[in-house]
């Protein structure tokens, strides 16, 4: 999936396997659809959370996307990888939900994210780092957040992410670069703090 990893035998088999699963799901096989949902649940939920921040909203968006994908299975081109096709639906669902939420209310900043505190132990340190990262992500545009998560976490290539987000490949590179600059700065500060 990543640029540096050309699709190997395992990936090719996985893609064949997915094409078959999709064909079965399209024919009404619920178990096949279940396998696809289970396989992409974590990725879909992470991408939606990157876009929306709130985990419940993200799960709702990911669920809507999964159901929408099921309805649109006839439109899926089995010669192409399933993941980017599904994640495009996830990204659209998350973006739509975000727009509706923005109209509904101004997004409040989670007080837990900005609160200071005593020096935490190691487990809490990790949790606190997660909070800081989410806070840093929240300062980035939604598209930039999704781009960096799709690239650095999910391992998709720039070209695949361009397809998922519906933007040029060069824009994806730029978005990933800018997101990384912020996140690397945060991680460097964090390392200094914990010494």
């Amino acid at each position: 999936m990543a640029d540096s990893q050309p699709p190997g035998e395992a990936a090719r088999i996985a893609q064949q396997d997915e094409a078959e699963l999709v064909a079965r799901a399209r024919a009404g096989d619920r178990a096949a659809f279940g396998v696809l949902v289970a396989r992409y649940a974590a990725t879909a939920r992470r991408v939606a959370r990157a876009a929306l921040g709130d985990p419940d909203d993200a799960d709702d968006a990911a669920q809507d996307a999964m159901l929408s994908a099921l309805v649109k299975l006839d439109q899926y081109d089995a010669r192409r990888p399933f993941g980017p096709w599904l994640l495009r639906i996830v990204a659209n669902a998350a973006t739509d939900r975000r727009r509706r939420r923005t109209v509904r209310r101004v997004e409040p900043l989670d007080p837990a994210l900005v609160a200071g505190g005593t020096r935490p132990d190691q487990t809490a340190e990790r949790r606190a780092l997660g909070q800081r990262l989410r806070e840093a992500l929240a300062t980035l545009p939604a598209r930039r957040r999704m781009a960096v998560v799709l690239f650095d976490v999910e391992g998709y290539s720039h070209a695949e992410i361009a397809g998922v987000l519906g933007i040029p490949e060069g824009t994806v590179r730029s978005e990933v670069f800018h997101a990384r600059r912020v996140l690397r700065g945060l991680l460097a500060d964090w390392k200094e703090e914990i010494g």
Binding site: A42, A50, Q63, R134, F177
Partner: protein
């Protein structure tokens, strides 16, 4: 920290791991069960056809739109059918046809008094 190229084409493992932990969605089984349950409910509610699901949503949407349009048309029609009464002016009184002599007399009388 090692130096990174601006548009590095390789995933950054450090950022990837940190983000994966930060965005960890938790147990997938609950989510999967929820999605499959919802899919099943929709399937049972409308029948085996997913096109039917969409069609039913579309029918509700069209019905709602027609209702709103009819209500808006009714309100607009009522307001257009009953224009606000206008006070007669001197010009109206002078130019008025002979049948409305009462109005003419009242207006002319008020002008003369002033």
């Amino acid at each position: 920290m090692k130096e990174f190229l601006p548009f590095d084409h390789r995933p950054d493992a450090m950022i990837g791991d940190a983000l994966r932990r930060a965005l960890d969605p938790g147990d997938a089984s609950v989510f999967v069960a929820r999605v499959l349950g919802r899919a099943e409910r929709i399937r049972q509610g409308v029948g085996a056809s997913w096109d039917g699901v969409l069609a039913s949503w579309a029918r509700v949407g069209v019905a709602a739109a027609v209702t709103v349009a009819l209500a808006a048309g009714y309100v607009l029609g009522r307001s257009a059918a009953a224009p606000a009464p206008r006070r007669a002016s001197v010009a109206d009184a002078v130019l008025a046809p002979a049948t409305s002599t009462t109005d003419v007399e009242v207006v002319l009388a008020s002008v003369i008094e002033n």
